[in-house]
């Protein structure tokens, strides 16, 4: 009887095995990394309507972040400054610069009613609750501490155009909430860029972390793991962030 299949079909079991393993690997990689915020969001830095340089203002001129983002310690949003804040200085400084054309138009001698259409970079979905002020001060008395701007936003003082520095994924939130100690700093250093904690603070940070409570929970729910890390049960309640 004539052969039904050509000789190369003898290879199919191997091809199928190798092919399906490779396919599985590619699928997992595609979903896990290629489709994740590590790939899709980090580095997102769109062109802004005004060529505002954070490197110049926050880096070289050493302006405090809170001069413009004034609500960061008080409200859920850090706040994008109104045109008036720009004009506080630019009425005197570089007042005829062509780069500031749009800013002057928006201000219009204090009578302007058009905002500068800044492009938003950092955005978490509506179903995730996030409050800047809760991260700018927490703990009581001796144990008061904060998360610095640079921890989540990166070295803004070095960015000509701001881009997203961290993935803002859920795992990224939870990783920090499960071991907050390395990311917390004294309140005085909130806006410091390139902050390095000394050894004394590292111990203190562990102490502080142990007094914290997970989002949405009223009581402290920390525990110390075998390797000496302090963990919140941030993941114990979904409703802390998904309210």
């Amino acid at each position: 009887m004539a052969q039904i299949f050509p000789k190369w079909t003898n290879e199919t079991p191997r091809l199928i095995t190798v092919g399906s393993l490779a396919g599985l690997g590619v699928t997992i990689f595609a979903l896990y990394w290629w489709g994740s915020p590590w790939n899709t969001d980090v580095g997102y830095g769109p062109k802004q309507p005004v060529a505002y340089s954070h490197k110049l203002h926050a880096g070289d001129l050493k302006m405090d972040c809170r001069y413009c983002h004034a609500y960061v310690e008080r409200g859920p949003h850090a706040g994008v400054p109104p045109t008036q804040v720009c004009m506080n200085c630019h009425k005197q400084v570089k007042k005829d610069s062509p780069a500031l054309e749009l800013v002057r138009k928006s201000w219009d001698d204090g009578k302007g009613d058009t905002s500068i259409p800044w492009v938003r970079i950092h955005k978490i979905p509506d179903f995730g609750y996030f409050d800047h002020s809760a991260h700018m001060a927490f703990g009581t008395g001796e144990n008061r501490a904060a998360v610095g701007c640079e921890t989540c936003h990166g070295r803004i003082d070095m960015m000509e155009v701001v881009h997203q520095n961290q993935p803002l994924s859920m795992a990224w939130c939870i990783d920090c909430h499960n071991d907050p100690a390395p990311s917390i700093r004294p309140i005085a250093n909130i806006t410091s860029m390139g902050y390095r904690p000394d050894n004394m603070w590292k111990d203190k940070a562990q102490q502080i972390a142990a007094t914290l409570h997970p989002p949405g929970a009223l009581a402290s729910a920390m525990r110390t793991t075998a390797d000496g890390k302090t963990q919140t049960f941030a993941t114990a309640g979904c409703s802390g962030c998904h309210r």
Partner: protein
């Protein structure tokens, strides 16, 4: 063996041929009646498979079309569910689980007969299994597919079902491994996978037969691909037997574990009526009970329509009925024991649940269940009834109905009387009947396609239990046989040649 045994052997495969009772071991009834040769068995089994597509028998065509219509309707229903959400069901507080879970447990229970027949009966050397294992396994796979579709659809947000699997993700979230519902995902998937492998392994030699007999190119390619290059060499058979044995050893514990875990879905919760330690064995017995009943329901018409009465004889039917009787009695015992435990615990909530179950608003469902599951199989104590094709079919049908109601009773009656009297409710289905019909459509569509294109009898295995396969068979040229394992029937069939 005496000549009288040959003389008394009935020719009708619907009548048991228990003969030679003076020699209970050697005188066992032949598993294949009618004195067929190997070739005749092949011809008989493959008759419907080898018909050209255009010449598909009208009955089968109609069945496939009807099943396909049901399947298509199911697709539409899934779309509707996808669009509207589970609000199209009657589920509400406090009855949060209703037909979705009832259908799931019903189908996954049916799926238990296949592996029991193929694995446990195989390991116990029950040779009669060879005539029925193939379509029992096919039934298993399609039933588990129907069950999976129920459980995948009941989540509400169908597009989030991937949360059931431990996939690495940017949320840093894993399934809750402490939940029996998660164990269920693994149990059912393992079961589906192992059953599929088992079924396919058994099919390989038969696919090779189909390939070798194929006259048309597409059939050669189709069956050739499925046959995986099987040539029937001794080495192939050695590997086949080993693989089959390993898979049997894999599946045997699954028969017990899968429905045990399904029962944990209920038993691990703390609801009176669910929170019962008897649930695992009770569910397993019920699953085998319902599975065998479904095998009977499918097998009895199939053997008549496909002309397989000589391979699936009344002996097989009777053996199946005995298992139905055994498991039905076990299930009846479990029902009684639930009441005893409720009484003996002295717990008033437990007691209320069970009194409410038999005399409350759902008592009609409870008594349907009891009459179908406990009373009807008891008729199989009578030999006349358990060797009658008509009775077997009717009683198996009752068992199918009863086992659906059992799941309904467990799920819905336990839920509808909440701890808070103000939330008591009476569950009424809204569009769920289309859900159930849809799963039947899916099941029958696949099953009838299987009947049309795959051999419904494990030919290679059936041949191995025929007298000709016995190395000591000396039927030709010797008149009445005298070798060990010689069956009365073989001598009847082949004595004529001498």
């Amino acid at each position: 063996m005496s000549a009288t045994t040959e003389a008394t052997l009935p020719q009708d495969p619907n009548v048991r041929g228990d003969v030679s009772l003076d020699e209970p071991v050697k005188g066992r009834e032949a598993l294949v009646r009618g004195g067929h040769s190997f070739h005749e068995v092949t011809e008989m089994v493959l008759k419907v498979n080898e018909l050209p597509v255009a010449k598909t028998p009208n009955g089968l065509k109609f069945g496939i079309a009807l099943g396909g219509a049901g399947f298509a309707m199911f697709g539409g229903y899934i779309g509707y569910l996808f669009w509207m959400g589970p609000g199209i069901w009657g589920n509400n507080n406090p009855v949060g689980w209703a037909w979705d879970i009832v259908n799931f447990v019903f189908w996954v229970g049916i799926g238990h007969a296949g592996t029991l027949i193929s694995a446990i009966l195989y390991l116990f050397r029950q040779k009669w299994r060879t005539s029925i294992n193939r379509y029992a396994e096919a039934m298993t796979i399609f039933a588990v597919l129907a069950a999976s579709s129920c459980v995948a659809l009941h989540t509400g947000r169908i597009w989030m079902d991937f949360y059931l699997f431990p996939l690495p993700n940017q949320m840093g979230l894993w399934p809750n491994f402490r939940s029996p519902l998660e164990w269920d995902v693994f149990a059912v998937n393992t079961y589906l996978f192992v059953s599929l492998l088992f079924w396919f392994t058994g099919l390989v030699p038969d696919f090779a037969t189909l390939r070798d007999r194929a006259r048309v190119r597409w059939r050669q390619l189709f069956y050739g691909m499925l046959a995986l290059g099987w040539r029937g060499s001794t080495r192939h058979w050695v590997h086949y037997e080993k693989a089959y044995q390993i898979l049997a050893a894999f599946s045997a514990p699954l028969v017990l574990s899968v429905h045990t875990i399904v029962s944990f879905d209920f038993a691990v919760s703390q609801l009176p009526g669910w929170h019962t330690t008897i649930f695992p064995p009770y569910f397993v017995a019920g699953a085998i009970f319902s599975g065998f009943a479904m095998v009977q329901t499918l097998m009895l018409p199939a053997r008549a329509w496909l002309g397989l009465k000589d391979i699936v004889t009344v002996k097989h039917i009777e053996n199946m009925n005995k298992i139905i009787l055994l498991t039905g009695t076990l299930v009846g015992y479990a029902y009684a024991m639930e009441y005893f435990v409720a009484f003996y615990s002295g717990n008033e909530y437990e007691g209320f649940t069970f009194i409410n179950r038999s005399f409350g608003p759902y008592s009609w469902a409870y008594w349907t269940m009891v009459s179908c599951n406990v009373i009807s199989p008891q008729l199989f104590w009578f030999k006349k009834i358990r060797t009658s094709v008509a009775w077997s079919f009717v009683l198996a049908f009752f068992v199918n109905i009863g086992m659906w109601f059992e799941r309904f009773v467990i799920t819905v009656t336990s839920l509808h009387r909440d701890a808070l009297v103000s939330s008591w409710d009476y569950f009424v289905p809204v569009t769920e009947v289309f859900f159930l019909l849809g799963t039947f459509g899916l099941f029958f569509f696949l099953f009838l396609l299987f009947v049309r294109f795959f051999p419904v009898i494990a030919m290679a295995e059936v041949k191995s239990v025929m007298p000709q396969a016995n190395p000591h068979w000396e039927g030709y040229g010797h008149g009445a046989g005298h070798g060990p394992g010689q069956t009365a029937h073989a001598s009847a069939a082949h004595g004529a040649h001498s």
